[in-house]
């Protein structure tokens, strides 16, 4: 199969979907003239024009709110947040409007709106341009949250998100944009809400997503060399969480570890650990292990930034401890 980058995979998804349905348009800061700050929209305005690929004022609140309004009036907007960190600017529009409008109005409207949010640590971008904030949205009924780890899923999940009649947050790790991988051409849909068992194993279950999933895969190989067979699960969607796939694996391996780049406290790992403790305690042979960032903003200096990033070795070491 041909290989393309994560960024090209999202571009392909956008092109295919916009060709299929003229109700789809995209707006955000620096996307038409510049092609997106990570180049992820390059070529789209030439294909679809600057009405459908629309540069906006630097007004995240109005961009998300206008996406909500346009969705209510029959369009299928895709909104680019520039950096996931700026979701905070538009938080009322996200959690009071977009997430609740369908329910609050008794199902009178759908909310086919996708927010694309580049997140994660990259090149010392510091505290306000490096965050992984996906867990906030897991706490909000009415939203769906997807978070791909590779180019094929990036395409398949974006296409599914665009076709979904519910509001979807699409987190894309900035460090993944240049990553190359095999991506099916044409129609390729990854179902929302379905985790992927990337590698089968019997000794422990490691659950992860996004950039960290790639570290987990590396760790899996190293662990295999040391005689530990880890089952690796890529969540791909964190709301709704695919509890079934995680529990099925846990019933087999009896040990659970969750790895994410986001702050450990109150993270996705906390929710998965709580679910396992509530419903699968009898199966567990060891305490649940969570790996996440320390409780601190992402610092600027590379000398400090490295301490908030999870490395492959950290995962290997934690897995070994768990299996000891």
């Amino acid at each position: 199969m041909r290989e393309i980058t994560f960024s090209e995979a999202t571009l392909e998804a956008m092109k295919e979907e916009m060709e299929r349905d003229e109700k789809i348009f995209i707006m955000g800061e620096d996307i038409a003239r510049q092609g997106g700050i990570f180049g992820q929209f390059r070529g789209l305005p030439q294909l679809f024009g600057t009405e459908r690929v629309r540069d906006t004022p630097i007004t995240e609140t109005a961009i998300v709110g206008a996406g909500v309004g346009a969705a209510m009036a029959g369009m299928r907007p895709v909104v680019d947040m520039h950096f996931a960190d700026f979701l905070g600017v538009a938080m009322d529009e996200v959690f009071n409007q977009m997430a609740k409008i369908r329910y609050m109005f008794g199902g009178q409207t759908t909310m086919p709106l996708v927010l694309r949010a580049p997140d994660g640590i990259i090149r010392s971008a510091a505290a306000q341009h490096s965050q992984s904030i996906e867990a906030w949205f897991l706490h909000i009924p009415g939203l769906k949250v997807v978070i791909p780890s590779n180019p094929a899923d990036a395409k398949g999940l974006l296409k599914s998100a665009i076709r979904d009649d519910n509001p979807v947050l699409y987190f894309e790790h900035k460090a993944l944009f240049p990553m190359k991988g095999e991506v099916p051409e044409g129609e390729h849909l990854v179902p929302i809400g379905k985790a992927d068992v990337v590698k089968e194993g019997t000794d422990l279950t490691i659950v992860s997503y996004s950039l960290m999933m790639n570290r987990v895969k590396e760790a899996g190989k190293i662990l295999e060399g040391k005689g530990i067979k880890a089952e690796l699960i890529d969540l791909r969607t964190i709301s709704p969480l695919d509890k079934e796939t995680v529990f099925e694996s846990l019933a087999k391996t009896k040990k659970l570890m969750i790895v994410h780049e986001a702050v450990k406290t109150g993270g996705v790992g906390a929710e998965i650990a709580a679910m396992a403790a509530e419903e699968m305690l009898d199966y567990l042979d060891a305490p649940i292990k969570r790996l996440g960032a320390p409780f601190v903003p992402v610092p600027f200096s590379p000398a400090l930034e490295k301490f908030v990033k999870i490395q492959t070795d950290d995962i290997v070491q934690a897995a070994e401890e768990l299996c000891r």
Binding site: G65, M75, Q97, Y103, M104, F105, G106, Q108, N166
Partner: protein, 321 residues
């Protein structure tokens, strides 16, 4: 006013009386403890929603506020489903999930009341963007008040709508009160409409208690928006007769102040005077409408009280498609 046809004049009176009677009934039943939640009344401001919506079609959109009954009725929603919603019944517009602060009727372009002050600007702007992208000639009206005019969303949305020449109309109901705080203590300028210059769009001030004047200015703004001329900011000067919410002890003003406005500036009384003076409607016609509305409201009340509450299994319905 010469151009006004009798249908529009009748709509003015019918709609204003419908809003007034509906809200008086809501007030009464809220105080009796039969309505859950919070209720915010539009009494005294009826001429604005009525005068603006008289220019709109079902295919046009409006966004409303926590004080939204008037806009909803003026846009053409049915009072029986509104009443049922306010009573928390499954026959209501939102199947009892919304209540007074979250009534919507998408079938007539009413995109929802909003519990967040200043929450509607960006939604109306987005609906107007959708019209533009779909090459439709429908318009979107955002109702808000002086309190909401100090939200950041005011700036972001009006700037965006102006920059993109969207078919949006921003209608400020300056009722002098931001919840319990007077307008002049929170806002340095005399007129909200003066801010229009900062966005390069027209800003007009209108007597919000004169339905004829509101209608006339809104007509210009709607025509302008429909023909691709972009947004207008209309400031309708009015006064909030009732407290911020039903049950508000109103420590912040005197009873005399309110009484004086009601005696001198009730929009329904002013309509009657003007309509009679100009021979637009007779006393008899108005009485017939009064009777019709009385009946309609009491039927709505009966419908709401006799309707069933939502079933437990409806809790998760309409959360996701």
């Amino acid at each position: 006013m010469d151009k006004l046809n009798s249908k529009v004049v009748k709509y003015f009176y019918t709609t204003m009386v419908r809003i007034r009677k509906f809200e008086e009934t809501i007030n009464e039943y809220f105080l009796k403890g039969e309505i859950p939640g919070f209720v915010h009344l539009y009494i005294g401001e009826e001429a604005i929603g009525t005068g603006v919506c008289a220019n709109l079609l079902d295919t046009d959109f409006i966004t409303s506020t926590h004080r939204g009954h008037g806009h909803t009725i003026a846009k053409g929603a049915k009072v029986k489903y509104m009443m049922a919603e306010i009573f928390g019944k499954k026959t209501g517009y939102c199947k009892g999930k919304g209540g007074s602060m979250h009534i919507a009727d998408f079938s007539v372009g009413m995109l929802g009341a909003n519990g967040v002050v200043g929450g509607g600007y960006t939604l109306a702007t987005g609906a107007a963007l959708a019209s533009k992208l779909q090459n439709k000639d429908n318009v979107s009206v955002c109702f808000f008040s002086d309190g909401a005019s100090n939200r950041g969303t005011f700036h972001e949305a009006i700037n965006m709508a102006a920059a993109w020449k969207l078919p949006a109309i921003f209608v400020c109901e300056n009722n002098q009160w931001a919840s319990t705080t007077p307008y002049r203590t929170t806002t340095a300028i005399e007129n909200i409409a003066d801010r229009a210059i900062g966005y390069g769009i027209p800003g007009v001030i209108v007597d919000g208690n004169d339905v004829f004047e509101v209608y006339k200015e809104a007509e210009k703004a709607v025509d302008r928006a429909r023909s691709g001329g972009g947004p207008t900011l209309i400031e309708a000067k009015t006064y909030r007769i009732k407290g911020h919410f039903v049950g508000d002890p109103e420590m912040y003003r005197t009873k005399e102040e309110v009484k004086k406005v009601m005696e001198e500036n009730d929009p329904i009384v002013r309509f009657k005077e003007k309509a009679t003076e100009k021979g637009l409607m007779t006393e008899k016609e108005m009485q017939e409408i009064d009777k019709k509305i009385e009946k309609e409201i009491s039927e709505a009340l009966k419908f709401a009280s006799e309707s069933p509450s939502p079933e437990p299994e409806e809790l998760y319905q309409d959360l996701y498609v």
